[in-house]
Each structure stands twice: as C-alpha cells, then as structure tokens.
Chain length 154, copies 2
C-alpha cells in the first residue's frame, strides 16, 4: 500500500461533491494576464471596458480557468499521485467575472474506473462548477484526470 | 455598411483553414505561469520534471491555451467586431509542450450562422489545431465566437 501521496485514485468516489476553495479576483492580475494572453479592450482597458457590452473590466475566460486550476492544485492535486489530464470538455463562461469577485469552485466526481490498458492507474471524470459571491454560476467545465492507484494489486 | 473594424461575421467562410500565427515557448514564462496557476512539479521544477513521466519541464495545458488565445487576438480578434465567446469544447492536450518549442495554430471555420434571437450578430464555430516544430499536433479545441454583422440589414 503506497502512502507517498495523500490522494490516489481510490480516494475519488462517484457522486461526491466538494468545495475545493475560493479566490478573490484581483484587478491588477486581470489586466496583467490579459495584457499577455488576451488583450481585448474589455480585459485590459478600464475606460474601454466601461463602454463595452460588459460595462466594466472582466477577466479573460482563460484567466478564470487558470484560477480554478490553482484551486485544484492546492486542494488535492499537489499532494496526489496525479499523472495529468488529456483534456477538458464543455468549458462554459456563463457570466462575466469582475475584479473583486470571490469565486468558489465545487468538484463533483462523475465517474471513476481503472485504466484498461494500464491497470496501475485509474481515471477520474469530474465536473467543476464555479460560483461568484452572489451564488451565480460563472464557469462550468468537465474533464478527465489520471491518478496512480494506491493498491494496484487489488 | 460598417467599417469600424477589419473583420465582421461576414468575413468567416465555412471550410476555410488559416494559419493564425506562431509562438516560441519561453522557459521562464512556462515556470512563471505555472508558479501562479498550475504549480505541479513537472511545470515548475526542472529537476523534478526530469524525474517525472514527462522527462523534462512541460507547459501547463492552460498556458498553451492562453498562448493560442494570444495568437487569435493578434491575427483577427483585436481588429474585429467580436462580442466574446460562450465557451470551448473538446480541449485536447495531445502531446507535451516544452520550452523552446515553436507552436503554430491553424483555424478552420466549421459553421457560420446569423443569431436567431439577435439578428445584428452572427455565430462562428471554429476548430483550432496547434502543431509543434515537428508538425506534431499538441492541442486541438473548438468553440463558438460571436461577431457583429457588417450588414445586418441584408
């Protein structure tokens, strides 16, 4: 039985829903991220953002995804036997994310199974739902992550 | 006929495939991005990455998506009547992206149609394919973007 990490494939249970943490959206960081990766006016220019359909500065959708990735890392990935992810489905930017918002992410385990080709590891499919401080959904996405099994011999 | 921007909904033609630009992956930036958003050892720690299943430092998948977003911005979005995107489908991180790699992105227009509810705008569905300098696919994803029409009265 391996105990190098806190979390292995066996620790994910289908149907479980957990709060994986919160982050406050920082205006300087919104502008900094978008200036490098997504310099559309409503992400980088406060005056232009005021005049846009969004009525003010909003975070790049990719920045929101990245902030949620950090919550995943801190809540379970960094102390896990993670082997990475092949991809993500159904990324939905449902509402604008604004500086000062507090985002809280919830993870629901949708499916777990042992890899057919590599029985030392398992597959975990999760749904991530991200709400702001008004309990409004701002982002949903789902995806697969691979983890080593704690007890591959069982 | 509006000419405020270079690109409106009418300028996207189903079936067209275009090179939307290239970017060289910078090691310092790989570590910087991942340190903030995805601090898994194989993204931030060269020695740990050497010992990992990846055999060396690799970019966060979200960083790769963000780099492609910048190519979209520079090649067409910033001088367009873009109204943003509701989401992305089928993000596939197919191969590791490493410092020093040159990534080139291709966009194929899969579908265009006028919005049924808001006839001043149109919907463009695209597939993005990203290759490295060995012509290996490293990332694919698809998604919808909204654009104002140049001639909404037609």
């Amino acid at each position: 039985m391996s105990t190098q990490f806190n979390t292995y494939w066996e620790d994910f249970k289908t149907g479980e829903r957990d709060n994986i943490g919160s982050v406050v959206v920082d205006k300087h960081e919104v502008i900094q991220f978008a200036s490098r990766y997504d310099p559309q006016p409503f992400h980088v220019d406060e005056a232009a953002a005021e005049r846009s359909i969004y009525g003010g500065l909003i975070a790049s959708g990719w920045h929101t995804c990245a902030m949620v990735m950090r919550l995943m890392c801190d809540s379970y990935l960094l102390d896990s036997a993670s082997l990475g992810s092949p991809g993500i489905e159904n990324v939905r930017w449902l509402r604008p994310v604004r500086p000062g918002d507090t985002l809280t992410a919830y993870r629901t385990i949708e499916e777990t199974r042992v890899s057919a080709s590599r029985p030392d590891r398992g597959i975990v499919r999760s749904l991530w739902e991200v709400e702001n401080q008004k309990d409004e959904l701002v982002l949903t996405m789902s995806g697969i992550q691979f983890f080593l099994r704690r007890n591959p011999e069982t």
